[in-house]
């Protein structure tokens, strides 16, 4: 894991000639660029550079030779660069740990194929794979519904869900058009177009109580867009009303978990954090505050604090009986 620019380009340059050598019929430039994860213009610069490299002497017969035919390229002289460089420890770790993780997730890929790939990759990595991996991944999300949801995605069929909605504490039934599966922070989510809500929704797989693949094509409408996960899982509208909370130290995780605005360190409570959360769902806010058991206090709106407190007093009355 060095500075990406230098190491990344050198790794690519050393791999390009063997890549072409392994494909004697030639490759479309656009496909090669995609395989190397670079723009086509960058790939052309790389090929131009390699074209003037070669064996000492640098006579016409010593230089790497490429043949361009239309939008395709193939190599006609490799100057001895026939195989890619061995895997580094980091590369071997990335491959092996990822495959082991996949083995841990039944229902995603054919287990036998993953095991065989793991064995072959470990053998090819040789020395780099013998180092005990300094990183491990344990997902621990093995929901029953995973294989059914995967089946629906693979065959592009609509799904019928019995889904538990925690913010309203209710069970719902709905028909959805599956779009993709996400694994975020240790939880699986199905991103799908919900026909009832007429919008893209995320369904956490451990909240799906029943799921069935329908005999009906999945057809998310054109306006159904996958959300950009870099913006977080919860993306409330910018117009939604603001709830202002004061989080005690034990509740500061809320700021990592939900998108909050204007986080401000406060001394009351000691080590606390004041945040603003946007939500149009006051029931959700009520449940969040109540589930924090007093570790969050409400600055705004007053009705939220009143509702939570009234519920708590009613509950205390039952314990007093």
């Amino acid at each position: 894991m060095t500075a990406p620019s230098t190491a990344e380009r050198m790794t690519r340059l050393l791999a390009l000639v063997p890549y072409l050598q392994a494909r004697p019929d030639g490759v479309r430039l656009a496909d090669a660029a995609a395989d190397f994860g670079v723009a086509e213009a960058q790939l052309r610069r790389d090929l131009d550079l390699l074209w003037v490299c070669g064996l000492p002497g640098h006579g016409p017969g010593d230089l790497i030779d490429l043949a361009f035919e239309g939008d395709r390229v193939r190599v006609t002289f490799t100057a001895g660069m026939v195989r890619p460089l061995r895997l580094t420890t980091d590369e071997a770790v990335a491959l092996i740990v990822a495959l082991r993780t996949l083995l841990e997730l039944p229902g995603l890929a054919e287990g036998e194929a993953v095991s065989r790939a793991l064995a072959k990759v470990s053998a090819a990595a040789g020395h780099a794979a013998e180092v005990r991996a300094p990183v491990a991944v344990s997902v621990g999300a093995r929901e029953q519904s995973l294989s059914v949801v995967r089946d629906g995605l693979e065959r592009q069929r609509a799904l019928h869900l019995h889904y538990y909605v925690p913010s309203r504490d209710e069970r719902t039934e709905r028909t959805v058009d599956p779009m993709r599966l996400l694994l975020v922070d240790g939880h699986w989510y199905l991103e799908a177009w919900c026909r009832g809500a007429e919008g893209v929704r995320l369904f956490r797989l451990d909240r799906i109580d029943e799921v069935a693949v329908l005999d009906e094509a999945a057809a998310p409408p054109p306006q159904a867009h996958e959300r950009d996960l870099d913006d977080g899982l919860y993306q409330p509208g910018a117009e939604a009303p603001v709830v202002r909370l004061r989080l005690a130290r034990t509740a500061r995780w809320v700021a990592d978990y939900y998108p909050v605005e204007e986080p401000t360190e406060v001394s009351d409570p000691p080590g606390g954090l004041a945040v603003a959360v946007r939500t149009s769902d006051l029931a959700w806010a009520r449940r969040l505050v109540a589930s924090l058991g007093g570790a969050a206090t409400v600055d705004e709106p007053a009705e939220l604090a009143e509702q939570v407190a009234a519920e708590a007093r009613a509950a205390l009355a039952r314990y007093a009986d």
């Binding site: 894991m1 060095t2 990406p4 190491a7 990344e8 050198m10 791999a15 890549y19 392994a22 190397f36 490299c53 070669g54 064996l55 002497g57 195989r83 890619p84 460089l85 061995r86 580094t88 420890t89 980091d90 590369e91 770790v93 990335a94 491959l95 990822a98 993780t101 996949l102 995603l108 790939a117 072959k120 040789g126 005990r132 300094p134 990183v135 491990a136 991944v137 344990s138 997902v139 538990y164 925690p166 504490d169 069970r171 240790g186 996960l229 870099d230 130290r249 589930s291 058991g293 206090t297 604090a305 009143e306 939570v308 407190a309 519920e311 708590a312 009613a314 509950a315 205390l316 039952r318």
Partner: protein, 325 residues
């Protein structure tokens, strides 16, 4: 990277791969294009030496096995070569299904810390003739927590087996405290990153949440300074530190309420007041107490007494939220 330098490095690799003999620095200077020519001045010699040192370091950095040695006893100085068997990735052929598994697996790192290593591993496999198509197949985006600044130094120190020093703030502490650790490895466990290692001050294995590390951890001392336990299973160390005993809890819920609790509860039949009695199991009693308190008057804890008290304590705090007495 400057194109000139890249070109010189590629030429150097080709030259050293193409010979079984050790090649002297002087010969490299004369035959690999791009080096400062020998014009007899000390300045040119110095420039060449600096450039060559940097190039050697660069190649070793990306994993090129650059050997130093002498071909015969008559050689007066060390030369360089790259043994083809050490350089080349061995043959690997994957079936379509196996290649698809690799493609899917590597997506795990797409937004996480090993993304660069995963991408270059993929490049090398493709260069070895393996066709990994990541655009086909079912749309899955696995994703490990992306922004964990402590990952890289912790991972590198565990990989190189160097001691690590960092400041760590426990959730119940006001101040971070300095920790010295022999890092065994970094673990993603249920969506969170942890460092597992031997705490040198406490002389015991410890698990640290990476998000609670403050500042940048620093590695010190030589590589290979320790050996992790032979039977180490990183994930189970973290799981063990998080594991607690299972507790049974009995609650009463008003009919039609507390749907979330009922999903994992064993129904025990109706109570005398018409409420449903439910049996719950938990390994995280405090988190269950939070959940029970949030149900307000819909849920009443019967047993155990500690759970009743924990919930009443929470409700008492919540009842004071609006400032009314």
């Amino acid at each position: 990277m400057a194109a000139k330098r890249a070109e010189r490095l590629v030429n150097l690799v080709i030259a050293l791969l193409g010979t079984r003999q050790y090649v002297s620095a002087a010969k490299i200077r004369a035959t690999v294009p791009g080096y400062e020519p020998d014009d007899g001045t000390e300045r040119a010699d110095e420039a060449f030496k600096r450039m060559f040192e940097r190039d050697k370091a660069e190649l070793r950095e990306i994993g090129v096995p650059l050997e130093t040695g002498r071909t015969s006893v008559f050689d007066t100085e060390d030369g360089y070569r790259i043994a083809r068997t050490d350089y080349e990735l061995p043959e690997i052929t994957l079936t379509g299904e196996e290649a698809a598994a690799v493609g899917l697996a590597l997506r795990l790192w797409q937004s996480a810390q090993l993304a660069g290593a995963a991408q270059s591993a993929l490049v090398k496999l493709r260069a070895a003739g393996v066709d990994v198509d990541q655009t086909r197949g079912i749309p899955i985006q696995p994703r490990l927590d992306a922004g964990e600044p402590a990952f890289e130094p912790c991972y590198a120190a565990a990989r190189d087996r160097r001691e690590l020093t960092f400041d760590y703030r426990r959730p119940d502490a006001d101040q971070a405290s300095r920790r010295r650790v022999q890092p065994w490895g970094v673990v993603a466990w249920h969506g969170r990153w942890y460092l597992v290692g031997h705490d040198l001050d406490r002389q015991a294995p410890r698990v640290f949440r990476l998000s609670r590390v403050t500042g940048t951890p620093k590695a010190s001392g030589p590589a290979g300074a320790f050996e992790p336990p032979a039977d180490l299973d990183l994930a189970s160390v973290v799981a063990g530190s998080e594991r607690r005993e299972e507790q049974l809890v009995v609650v009463r819920a008003r009919p039609g309420t507390a749907i979330g609790l009922r999903r994992h509860a064993v129904p025990l039949g109706p109570a005398e007041d018409g409420d449903d009695r439910l049996e719950l199991r938990t390994t995280e009693p405090w988190s269950l107490a939070d959940q029970l308190a949030a149900y307000g008057p819909d849920v009443l804890v019967e047993a155990p007494q500690q759970m009743r008290e924990a919930v009443v304590e929470r409700l008492t705090r919540l009842a004071a939220l609006d400032g009314a007495a």
